[in-house]
Symmetry: C2
Subunit: 304 residues, 2 copies
């Protein structure tokens, strides 16, 4: 079987496909938030970061997975919203003075710069909690077992065995020189697990065959790692204006990154290798994987 590389036309069509879905997602996120009316300040702080113009890569990966499985995208909207909330909470906490101490995110002042540290911590906590509320809601019309499998998968990918562990390992790695295995362990936990969960939790809404499930697992895993390598490269090569957040921050913190360990060219090759593995895995979906392919290419080639 030969790997179907994304065609130029696929890439051109990607934004035509993501634009209306992004609007649907924003609408759904806004509906969930407007139901959280106990504290206006808290609601504002949650909404500020959730609607700060992120790339929405994780929800789009979920939608593209539904498309590859020829399933209804609307049915998995709660998954897309929950994962975007978890991603957003992680950014809010990440930017805190005690963590990365960043003033700028997506070209805007970070949450704690606008609402204060205490409120930013609580807004993050509330977004994380709301994600699990959404996934457990009785009105969501999929089987209970599927909801539980999704909650279980997502909580593991984002907790002490996944994203949060990655953050701690990443902090501990400052001023240390890492080998490839250590670096990959951090990247897989810090970023790749939640990206992969965007694909797998979407799949869990439906009934993929074991072969489809395994293919999506490889795709998610390789894509996740490629994303973080691309992020490391961008941190070194792009400007603060392009990124919408301070560039060169890894170097300032003496963090080991793919470019610092392997050099820029080898890092680019490694990202490319991950991309190819991801693309080969989803060959079985043929034409239905058009969006998954285009997103994978976008993730490697993006400029921010």
């Amino acid at each position: 079987m030969t790997t179907r590389l994304p065609k130029k036309s696929d890439m051109d069509h990607l934004s035509d496909w993501t634009r209306p879905l992004g609007k649907k997602l924003d609408q759904a996120l806004s509906t969930y938030l407007s139901d959280q009316h106990t504290s206006k300040t808290l609601q504002k702080a949650m909404n500020y970061s959730l609607s700060a113009g992120g790339k929405r890569i994780r929800p789009m990966l979920g939608f593209a997975t539904a498309k590859a499985l020829r399933e209804d995208i609307d049915l998995m909207m709660p998954v897309a919203c929950a994962i975007e909330m978890i991603h957003t909470y992680s950014l809010i906490h990440d930017d805190l003075p005690a963590m990365d101490d960043d003033d700028l995110r997506r070209g805007k002042a970070t949450n704690h710069k606008v609402f204060g540290e205490a409120c930013a911590i609580l807004a993050g906590d509330a977004l994380l909690t709301l994600a699990f509320s959404i996934l457990s809601q009785a009105s969501w019309n999929i089987q209970s077992e599927k909801k539980l499998a999704i909650i279980s998968h997502l909580s593991q990918a984002s907790g002490a065995k996944g994203m949060v562990a990655g953050q701690v390992l990443d902090m501990e790695s400052e001023n240390q020189s890492l080998n490839e295995i250590q670096l990959e362990t951090i990247h897989r936990n810090k970023t790749a697990q939640l990206l992969s969960a965007s694909v797998m939790c979407a799949a869990l809404c439906f009934d993929p065959t074991p072969e489809q499930y395994a293919a999506l697992e490889v795709y998610g895993r390789e894509l996740g790692l490629a994303f973080q390598i691309a992020d490391d490269i961008l941190d070194e090569t792009a400007s603060t204006e392009e990124l919408g957040k301070p560039s060169g921050s890894d170097q300032k913190k003496h963090k080991s990154t793919y470019p610092s360990v392997f050099g820029l060219e080898t890092s680019k090759q490694k990202a490319q290798q991950c991309l190819e593995k991801a693309l080969t895995a989803i060959d079985i979906f043929q034409e239905n994987a058009q969006q998954l392919r285009a997103l994978a290419s976008y993730i490697i080639e993006r400029k921010k």
Copy 2:
């Protein structure tokens, strides 16, 4: 129907009943934590606060609810662990310099004092996430619909419509004088909702009659408010040594409390009124509510 007040013998027997259950709970918490092995530092920080010798009131309320319903306590152990994890995460975040900035909790240095702020934030995040992992685990032998009802109830009680909202409202109330309704809204959200969830989520593991469910709702609600009033009173009357955390901290922050709004005597009466409502509600369980009664009295009469 006359309310059965807790007898002196019930109170004497309470610790005989809670001691072995506390050991079982510690064992279960420790098993869940030992499975989170990705980062040793993170695991240590999570374990530090989780095993810091809390009163375990929330798990015990859950166990007592199972007892009132004449059901198996072991079956609801995941609920007890999840709620204690959520309670512990809220304390870790609450103590942070950006929040209450407390150095002492349960007579020990607070989490961020030992592990640093960044790690404390992440340990809290990981405990919150782990709670939902535990409640969604496939190996827990109760119906899927019950697990989802519990996740839904608990996430709402602890999120932007519950505990987290209460924290934000509480912060905003510093240096403001509140009326009774505003004060009660804060207390119900900040403390009462999670205490009440300890009762209701335990009940959701089983099949209470609508009458039993409604009785437990009143018990949980009144007890939750009584707990926070008692906390306000203790903050004013107990010493730092007795509390294991700094006393008089509400006054220092110019927070409105029950004693500051109503005076000490009226506050005590209000707590007593809540206690009586709670006790009356559970009359229907007759002798099976012995532990629920003793816990309610303990909550009002405790010295820390």
